[in-house]
Symmetry: C2
Subunit: 164 residues, 2 copies
């Protein structure tokens, strides 16, 4: 993260990010999961990392309206060339601090079982996967959580609110 800047995600960040997001995922079609609304309406809890004026990572999340003490991370993305630099971790820490200030004590997110890198990252960041009867490669998976064929690992993490 040396020399990098972390700041709130702005609506104007959407077009440069959506243009490269499938590429960052090695060709997986991710853009459909990321309509403009997330950049427009969740600025207070969404962040980007810039390196020399270019965005190399972002996190989109929000405070739940149903459960005001819960925050949810919808999307995190890092430029493939910056994946060992702690960018995703720094974005998550920024998000944790922002939602703790807004009264949240728990952070949730979901990931696809195929995304081994994401699963390992969430374990490193202190997330726990919700139990399920279905286990894939040692990880509990909720079948069809996001609709038919869309299995997900459900992660949560209790925030250590005192540190903030």
């Amino acid at each position: 993260m040396q020399g990098m800047l972390i700041r709130h995600a702005e609506p104007s960040d959407y077009q440069p990010i959506i243009a490269v997001v499938n590429e960052w995922w090695g060709g997986r079609q991710m853009a459909d999961m990321l309509p403009m609304l997330f950049f427009m309406h969740f600025r207070p809890t969404s962040f980007v990392v810039e390196n020399k004026g270019k965005i190399v990572g972002f996190v989109i999340g929000f405070v739940s309206h149903t459960f005001p003490e819960e925050a949810y991370i919808h999307f995190v993305g890092v430029h493939p060339e910056f994946r060992k630099d702690g960018v995703a971790g720094a974005l998550y820490e920024k998000f944790f601090a922002a939602v703790a200030k807004l009264g949240c004590s728990i952070v949730r997110c979901v990931t696809a079982p195929i995304n081994k890198g994401s699963i390992a990252f969430h374990h490193r960041m202190g997330f726990t996967a919700k139990d399920s009867e279905k286990i894939v490669d040692g990880v509990p998976v909720v079948e069809g959580y996001d609709g038919k064929g869309e299995d997900r690992v459900l992660f949560s993490k209790i925030l250590d609110v005192e540190r903030n």
Copy 2:
């Protein structure tokens, strides 16, 4: 709407809805736009209509965190056999009342230019399309609003807050 019940959308409504949503759209792939998170975290401003215990329509929306006086409607769906019964209009009115109580004075949403039924509906509901240089069938369209190839009509409506 005679004999029908309108109530908040619950997380438990997600699976029955996601199983039929592509079908309700005549086979268009809509399910990717509707992950579980919308039913989980935006209950206070999301509603379903039931007819004889079966869901025949729903609206998913939220109050913007970036612009607290703005509300956003992400998704509205009505069972094809119930499209002339005022279900979508009733869902929108319920949403308007809910977000007005939460301090909103404007409601926004976007739709695809191909969705003529949606465009006509929003005009009937008092929405105005944002100006754009590109006009398709008389309607202003913002090119690539939701990413490359994803043109959208941008609708907004000022709420008549006094009535609430």
